[in-house]
Every structure is written in C-alpha cells, then in structure tokens.
Subunit: 428 residues, 2 copies
C-alpha cells in the first residue's frame, strides 16, 4: 500500500455524498484525531445541513474534485446507484485511492469488475455498510470466520419489508394498509418497488453469497419474489402453524458446489432466531463448518449504524496505510470463480399453500390426488372454514418437494376450478 505520509500525519478522507449516512460518517470521524475529512462532494451545495461543526469550505458540487484530489487517500462513496458512482470509484482507484462504499446495487451488478480493477491497482474496496447496515458481517467472514466453509445463509436484509410484515402480523392488517402507514412514517419510499419487490435484498444477498461461498454469484441468476402478495390471512395461518412470515434472502451451496440464491417470503419457525427479528432490524444467519450456525442481528440502516460500518472500514485501511505493500486477507475482495447455479425449478422446498375451493365436496381428495401424481407428500392439510356458499378455505403444508412439481400441481389445482391464493415456501 501507499507509503506516503501526509504533512500533518493525518489520514485524508474524501466523502462523496452527505445525506443521512454521509452526515453520520462525518460526525463520527470528528472524534478521530488521526483522520481528517478534507473534501466532500454534494449534489446541492446550498442545502442547509444539520451538522454543527461542518467546515463549509471543503464542500464541492463536483465529485471529480474528490476523486482527483492528490491529497486524499481514502474515498468514501455514499451516493448509491450505478452512475456516476462507478466511474467515480474507478477514477479514484486509478488515482491511487482506496475505496469504502455502501453501494449495494453497484457491488451486485459490477462487483467483480470493480474488485479486479482495484487489485490490478493494488487498492482495496471495502463495503461493510452495503450489507445489513451496522451489523458486523463482511469483516467477520473475511477474518475470524475465514477457517470455515460456509454453505448456508438465511437473512433479513431489508428493513422496509420487515417493518411491513411485522406490522401486518401485529395488527392483522393488509399489505396496502401497512404500506401506506410506512410511507407516512418514512419507513417506505413513495415508490417502494426497490424494497417491496425484493431488489434491495437481492443486491445484498448477491454480494454476501459471493463473499461467503468464494464464488461469483450473478444478480440475474438470483430468484426474486417480493412481499406484495402476502395476505393477512397467510400471516394468521402461519401463526397458527407455529411460523412467522419473513422476506428471507437465502443462499445455499450443495455438496456438488452448486449455488441456490434467492429472495422470497418464507414461513420461518417461531423457534428460530429470525422469526423474532422485528420491524426495521436486520439479521444474518450463517451456517458453515466448523462453526455451525451463528446469527448476527442489529440495525440494517440509519445514519449512525451505517456510519459505524463505514468508519470501521476506514479504520481498517488507515491501520495499514504505509505499513505493508501486501493486501491482508480482510482487504481482499476478488473471488475464485463463477458459481454454478441451481435453477429455482430444480430446487426442493417445503410449501405453504392457501387454496379457496369452489366446491368443498371432494376437494381434499382432488388435491391429494394431484399432489400424489406430482410426487408431492403432504405434511398437513387443514380445511379452515366452510362458508354457506359451499366454498372452502384449505391450508396445505407439504414435505420437501421439487419446485417444478409444485408449480405443475398448482396449475392442475387451479384448472380444477380452485383459486390458489398463496404459495409461500417454508424454512427447512
């Protein structure tokens, strides 16, 4: 790494972005005597900011002033999105700067290109803040868990959707009702697509699984379902069966080394830690050998929690600046090879299915026959209530079943005149 020591002996930082996280980083770094923020790029230089000790003279409207500043050793990118973030980071690396970023979309879509480019220039890209906010997860995987072969990740990586699902569960309210509340409170954006359709969680699990499996996962191979179709009736039924419904980002590596990476709602046993992760809290469960299973939970977003991770990465780089010309394991970010992926149709899952049967007579028999023909064993089948009009609400939990077979069975059950209200996978 760089041997140049600055005139006043301080590590010089450039910030790109001074929104919620940027403000938290700036305030947190104030207490570190050996670190100095020397330039900050913002979109609107005239905006009033609630940062008491902010030195206005270091603010610029041009982020290239940050990445081209020869004095700066570490560039912290906090604007998100692909452009201009990608070009800014590459320019910074070319100019000899290390990178700390919270940009989950950029990492998921161009992580490998970025990491390779950084290694070619003997620079590092650290990204603890991009995954699960303040929870220490990236650095522990790189350091103290480095002796493990991790084969399973199950995580709650999106605070907005976890808030909505928690509220639906507590209040027995519908998705739309709670979304409106969440938007009013600022927990969900006006256009909530990125969160509620699972894109945000998919970005994060892509990068996390790539690191944990030491194989590149491509974002386009990640199966994704959001929470918009989860009904309060499903919440109730899940509770009765001993489960909570959570949006789980998961990644599994099978014995042949093939990866299965997804984001979708999942019934999680109340006995598992993830079932008790509520509101905007995030959590990551890792399973590997020799460690077994560990779960890390905490704030997945917010000014200060995210700043904790950004500052942790800055301190890790600062500790090594000028001391070694070698990248420590915790600094490395390139990965060995592409992962071979398992198609979602070839995965095996347990399923919760909620069916509204038009004619309750013989319907259990029909469902049973269709399932048997598609090699589907049932763990339980409950006819929850029958109304006067002859229809029936039926809740089914299956044993482990091929996704392909399950989808075929659903088609046949619907062709028989029944309505399948929900199909949600169950944690195994």
């Amino acid at each position: 790494m760089d041997k140049n020591i600055n005139k006043n002996g301080k590590i010089k930082i450039g910030l790109i972005g001074l929104g919620t996280v940027g403000s938290g980083v700036y305030k947190t770094l104030e207490s570190f005597k050996n670190i100095e923020v020397v330039k900050i790029a913002v979109r609107n230089v005239n905006k009033k900011r609630n940062i008491p000790n902010l030195d206005e003279s270091i603010i610029t409207g041009d982020p290239y002033e940050v990445v081209n500043d020869p004095e700066i050793q570490i560039v912290v990118e906090l604007i998100g999105g692909l452009n201009p973030a990608f070009d800014l980071i590459k320019t910074a690396i070319k100019n000899g700067k290390h990178i700390v970023t919270a940009n989950k979309e950029l990492l998921a879509k161009h992580g490998e290109e970025l990491f390779t480019f950084a290694e070619e220039h003997n620079k590092v890209v650290l990204y603890e803040a991009a995954i699960a906010g303040g929870i220490p997860i990236i650095m522990p995987i790189k350091t103290i868990l480095a002796g493990n072969k991790i084969t399973r990740i199950e995580a709650i990586l999106n605070g907005t959707t976890n808030y909505i699902l928690t509220k639906m569960d507590m209040q027995g309210a519908s998705y739309e009702q709670v979304l409106n509340e969440a938007q009013a409170l600022g927990y969900a954006e006006a256009d909530p697509t990125g969160d509620v359709e699972g894109f945000d969680a998919a970005y994060k699990i892509t990068t996390l699984a790539t690191l944990a499996f030491r194989k590149r996962i491509k974002i386009e191979d990640v199966y994704r379902e959001g929470i918009t179709k989860v009904r309060s009736e499903d919440m109730q039924a899940a509770n009765d069966l001993g489960y909570k419904i959570k949006l789980i980002a998961s990644a599994y590596l099978d014995e042949q080394g093939r990866a299965d990476v997804r984001v979708h709602p999942m019934l999680v046993s109340k006995k598992s830690t993830l079932a008790h992760i509520d509101y905007v809290t995030n959590a990551v469960s890792l399973t590997g050998h020799p460690v077994g299973s560990v779960t890390l939970s905490g704030p997945g977003a917010g000014e200060f929690p995210t700043a904790s991770s950004v500052v942790g990465d800055i301190l890790a780089i600062a500790a090594e600046l000028g001391t070694t010309d070698y990248l420590l394991p915790m600094m490395r970010c390139k990965h060995e090879s592409d992962a071979e992926m398992i198609d979602i149709l070839d995965t095996e899952n347990k399923y919760y299915i909620s069916i509204n049967a038009q004619n309750n007579k013989g319907v259990i028999g029909t469902i049973g026959t269709i399932c048997a023909q598609n090699d589907i064993s049932l763990a339980s089948i409950v006819q929850r209530c029958v109304s006067d009009d002859n229809t029936a609400d039926i809740t089914v939990i299956t044993e482990l079943v091929k996704e392909k077979n399950m989808r075929n069975a659903i088609k046949l059950i619907e062709q028989d005149g029944n309505k399948v209200n929900s199909l949600i996978r169950v944690q195994v």
Copy 2:
C-alpha cells in the same frame, strides 16, 4: 513480527492440549496447505484418540517441548486453568511465539499481565475462542466496530446454565431435577459449581468488558450470583409477566465512565432477542455509538465451533507473519487504564420479588409501606393465590430502585414474618 520463513514455507503450529477443542482444531487445520501442526502436547500419550489422520510421532507428554521448539511460530494453548498454562504461555512468548488461547480463567485473572508481557516481546495473544465459543465477537470489536464507544453488554455466556434454565422453563421442572438430567446427558459436569454459580460467565464478561470498554476490569470486582436459587415458580411467574429468566452476564459504562459488571439471573423481556436464546446457545448484545445495538448468537462451546474461532485467530496471525514489524489494531490486546467500578449496592435495578406472607391480612399494606419508606416505587403487585391456611403468595415488580434500598426493604419484609423466596433483577 518475525521475518523468518520456514524451510518448506509453511506456518508451524504447536498445540498444547488435544481434548475436544484441540481435536477440532487439528482436524480443521488439515485442510490448510500453508499451515502445519508440528508438535502436540497431551497429558496422556497412550490415550486412544478419534482423529483419523493423526501423526502419532508429533505427540509429546511434555508441553515445554512445544513452547521451546524453535521451529514453532504459533502456540495454541487449550488446556485451561492457571497452572501450568500461564508459565507455558510466558515461556512461549519469551521464545518468540505468538499465542492463541481459549483459556478464559487465565485471561480473567492475569490477562493484563499476559498482554503486557506479550507486547514487551512484540508478540500477540489472541483469544476469540475464550469468549462465546464460535460466535465472532472479539475480532469484530477490534476491527469493524472499532469506531464505536461501547457502553453496554448483555450476554448469555454459559451454555450449561442456559440449558438448565431453558429446560426448567419448558418442563416446569425444578433446578435439581434438570441439573441431574443435564449431568446424565453430559451438559453439566459432576461438580457443576464453575457453571451454575456463574464463575465461568464471570471470567468471560471480565475479559469481554475489558476489551469493549478499553478499561481493565478486575475479576474480583465483578458481582456474581448463580442460578441455584431460581425456582420453577419464578419461571412461571416471569412467563405470565412477559419475561424469561436467563443467567445474564452484563457490563455497563455510565456517563462518568464508571463500570458496573455482573453475572446474575435476570428477567428478560420476551420482546428481546436474548429471551429466545435457548439450550446451549450463547449470545452477546452490544450497545454503543454509533452502531446502536447488535446481537450475535451461536454455539458457545463444542469441538468444531470453538475450533472455528481458534483457527480464525491462527489465520489472522499467519496472514501477518513476515509481512510487517508492526502490530495491527486487531492484534493489540493491552488496555488503557483500570476501570472505576460502581459497587453493586449503588447500582439501580428493577426487581422481581416473590414473597410468601404468613398472614394475608394487611400484608400488601405492610409491603407497600416498607417500600415507600425505602424509596421504592412498585410497577406491579399481584397476590397470586391464597391458601386455606391464611398465607399468601405475592409477586412484586419494582420500578428502578437502588440495590441498597432494595436489600434493606427485603430485610424489613422478612422481619415482619414474611418469607422472601426470590429476588431477581429485571432487564431495563
């Protein structure tokens, strides 16, 4: 650090102890091509061991052969206890070796002496495995959470007691009954004192709080109560009030920088993550700024989980051997100063109290008066059942109260002819 590279380029390890954890470490290290275990000291060289690829020729009955072997770069101490472990480690350091240890008792009683000695010799002592087994906690505090001021730790650090309390809760069984079961299953030792009286948890919280607060905590200043007096009736009452009873190791740093470190049973709200940590699982909740609260949970003991932490520490040292003559932050272990401690009598707590009143007439009034005179506000008071013989069972939950005042009130309540069955602190 050492610049000497071995003939075959491998990092040479010496193991002291080949019990449960040692076996796990040996088996795990087999898959690392750049690391070689060259000597292992055991108590009984003739013992049959279930390690398929064990090279018997490297086994010795004399641990000084390990610490005096000039080829060995890292000594892994896994025998526990003060002697001969302390002298062995000091000899190894004097001989230029780095140390990885799981010895919680030694760290709690002589940690500072050990860390100072190591720094004087420019060697490191890593101890991830000594606290909470496989859970990554020490290294994350030293690295990615290094930007935080941690002010609060609440943790379940002893698997045996958590197993007993979980079973008592699930089965409504007594402490003695479950202890016997646990002993039969190997979850508790024949002499369970170290676990059930809280010594093991006290060792661990001493070292953990010292690291997190960057101030030395002395083991003799840690307040300690075990679980032997927890009754199944208390478990039931706690459940009814929305709590679980856990043996919590806690450490708090107040605004004046004074520390309050303890181990005792505690009523923990069912809404908190710790309430759902069951059986032999351990967990650590840390609160600090800027991160907020994070909770890490997982296996607190066992062959492979503990090996994960030992191997993580070995890899951290191995990564730096020969690359730098400077100790990275994650390697440092000395602490700034002694902590100023708060005496348990001066702490403020909420309390759960279970009282058996000899005469139910007027007893609520008497308790209320005694509490008022001792500056104790009550959150709730429930007369749970009155039997034919005129006695009453009364459950009280207080607001925040000085320990000194609470103890005085208990004395007066007992002098009035009532029996105080339980006094358990409640999580705030």
